[in-house]
């Protein structure tokens, strides 16, 4: 038996590895092992006030800090009977656009792209692709800026609170964001063209099921009250457990999810499969131009999906800024009850993120958080197994197989810290 290892999966967030067990050319097993220790945050927040929960929960992850905060706010507001003012809702959407630009620029250019261009890292790309790397950093900087202006800080901002915002962005801050977003749109268009020009290996291709929120008003967006499934079904977010069906496996600290006993995909590709027709602007044109059958089978297409989505976010920011700036700052809405339950579902850059809360006498009685990476783990293993089988059938050497597997894992933009490095080949 032989074991192919990627013991420390570089260029993903957190501590994980891949183990492939081989019997000759036959792949017996492929596992994505999550070594990142559990932090028991759901237990940590029991007994806290909802406001205190918001100080702890975003600490789950510094990449998706605002997605965690927003999902928690949505769940808690429902539980407490709070209806947020329109300006709060729109400012939250603006902060999510910023997080999307920040995270997608980091993942596509600095984490995924080196694999496609044959470099070991973004550092090695610098001499030949210096302008592209700088473009990615400019986009990330802008995303960070939008996050800081809306939430108060780049990481773990505390302005978004239950019932509104502690402080709304000023007109001057909003105007600066609008101008910069306009300026960066051509950069994002170039990014889409670059990712559309890449060769996406077919080894991982298989039928996929996609899930994402259904953004309201038939628009594209990052939050909603129901979940769209690519099989045509739609499920209320309060019934999220029927979709995620979490279970524990022995080789990983992260829980796993199956829908109707099948793996499923969440992330930018899922959002574009389910809501791509709702895009507008140049993002819509480029999506129509580049969307094809591959998107329904090949997880690597998530990289192009993230580039298109980042363009949409940039194009959407000026309109959102105008609307937010046109509204007066409303007072903070207060809870109307002290007992209740509620589920928030938002689209973090790497997929659907659920926060469910039960509130009893004004304190948190139970919390349940299901991250996108936890939902994707079984799907990643499925597509890695296919990749290993097909590459070995073509007599690819171990190094090529390792890279093929890492590319699949990285395509999902996994956040292992959230879900609780990388390939081991075992031969029997």
């Amino acid at each position: 038996m032989k074991e192919l290892n990627v013991e420390a999966l570089a260029r993903v967030e957190g501590d994980g590895g891949i183990t492939v067990t081989l019997d000759g050319k036959k792949v017996k097993n492929v596992t994505l092992d999550v070594h990142e220790g559990p932090r028991l945050i759901e237990q940590l927040v029991r007994g806290l006030t909802p406001a205190d929960d918001l100080n702890v929960i975003p600490r789950i992850c510094a990449i998706c800090t605002l997605s965690h905060r927003y999902s928690a706010i949505r769940g808690l507001e429902k539980a407490l009977g709070i209806v947020p003012p329109e300006k709060a809702q729109l400012t939250r959407e603006l902060m999510m656009l910023g997080e999307n630009v920040e995270s997608n620029s980091l993942h596509t250019f600095l984490l995924a792209l080196p694999d496609f261009l044959g470099y070991p890292s973004a550092v090695a790309m610098l001499n030949d692709y210096g302008d592209d790397v700088k473009r990615a950093l400019r986009l990330k900087k802008f995303g960070n800026h939008v996050m800081a202006v809306t939430s108060g800080r780049i990481v773990h901002g505390e302005n978004p609170i239950l019932g509104g915002f502690g402080r709304y962005p000023s007109r001057k801050e909003l105007e600066e964001i609008k101008l910069k977003a306009h300026e960066l749109v051509p950069d994002a268009v170039r990014d889409v063209e670059l990712f559309a020009s890449l060769d996406y290996p077919k080894y991982s291709e298989a039928d996929m099921v996609f899930m994402s929120v259904n953004a309201p008003k038939k628009q594209y967006g990052f939050a909603g009250e129901s979940i769209l499934i690519s099989n045509g079904k739609e499920v209320n977010v309060e019934d999220y457990r029927k979709l995620t069906n979490e279970r524990v496996v022995s080789h990983s600290f992260a829980k796993r999810s199956l829908y109707q006993d099948k793996t499923f995909t969440v992330g930018a590709n899922a959002r574009l499969v389910n809501m791509g027709k709702r895009l507008d602007g140049q993002a819509a044109d480029l999506f129509k131009q580049h969307f094809d059958e591959r998107w329904l089978k090949n997880p690597l297409m998530n990289n192009l999906a993230q580039a298109i989505e980042m363009l949409w976010s940039l194009e959407h920011i000026p309109d959102m800024v105008d609307t937010v700036a046109s509204l007066d700052n409303p007072p903070i809405e207060k809870p109307t009850r002290q007992n209740g339950s509620g589920t928030g579902a938002v689209e973090a850059p790497r997929g659907t993120l659920y926060h469910h809360y039960d509130i009893k006498d004004g304190l948190i009685d139970a919390a349940d958080i299901i991250t996108p990476t936890a939902q994707n783990l079984d799907d990643i293993e499925k597509h890695m197994k296919l990749t290993a089988e097909r590459m070995l059938a073509e007599d690819k050497d171990d190094e090529e197989v390792r890279l093929g597997l890492e590319m699949v894992a990285r395509a999902y933009d996994p956040c292992i810290s959230c879900a609780t490095h990388l390939v081991t080949l075992k031969r029997v």
């Binding site: 570089a10 260029r11 993903v12 967030e13 932090r39 600490r59 992850c61 510094a62 990449i63 800090t65 980091l106 600095l110 984490l111 070991p120 890292s121 973004a122 550092v123 090695a124 610098l126 210096g130 790397v133 700088k134 950093l137 400019r138 990330k140 900087k141 960070n144 800026h145 800081a148 800080r153 780049i154 990481v155 773990h156 810290s417």
Partner: protein
């Protein structure tokens, strides 16, 4: 003189002299890294935030979007010295402060919310700057853990040294 632990010949004075040799009369920036939610891991951020009070144009932390700061510096053509400060597992005693050799900085490192130090360093050097990384050996990095006494001491020592360096360069 504060003798740095487990680093024979590596004294506070030695570190000061090494940094003075690196910086000369050039402009100096300090970029502090690390997650303050994970105790000693946030050492670099704490150093930079302390220095920012006196040197707001020359000291930045994770809270400022560090790769954006590095990008801006790389495009200024100042031939500056950029000092990264971060918690680093050097296999040394807790609180040890060392300049980390460039060949020990991983290209593929990625932390929770920024690009690799190696990329920022390469970008800065491509722009004509000199970059170096100072590591502080952590001992406690648990989520919501408490800063260890040894790292707290090291933060104070390094902040004082870097304040002198920045004051000379300002």
């Amino acid at each position: 003189m504060h003798k740095l632990r487990d680093a024979p010949g590596y004294s506070e004075e030695g570190l000061r002299l090494e940094l003075e040799r690196f910086t000369g009369k050039r402009k100096v920036y300090v970029l502090g890294l690390g997650n303050t939610d994970r105790a000693d891991d946030g050492a670099g951020t704490i150093v930079a935030e302390a220095l920012k009070k006196r040197f707001p144009r020359f000291s930045f932390s994770e809270q400022d979007g560090i790769e954006g700061v590095a990008l801006d510096i790389s495009e200024r053509g100042e031939a500056a010295v950029v000092i990264f400060v971060d918690a680093a597992d050097m296999g040394a005693a807790p609180g040890t402060i060392r300049v980390i050799p460039s060949n020990r900085i991983r290209d593929t490192e990625i932390t929770t919310h920024r690009v690799a130090v190696a990329l920022m360093r390469a970008l800065l050097e491509k722009g004509g700057n000199t970059a170096l990384v100072i590591g502080i050996q952590p001992t406690v990095i648990e989520f919501r853990g408490k800063l260890s006494d040894s790292v707290r001491d090291a933060i104070g020592t390094l902040t004082d040294i870097l304040a002198e360096i920045l004051a000379r360069a300002d």
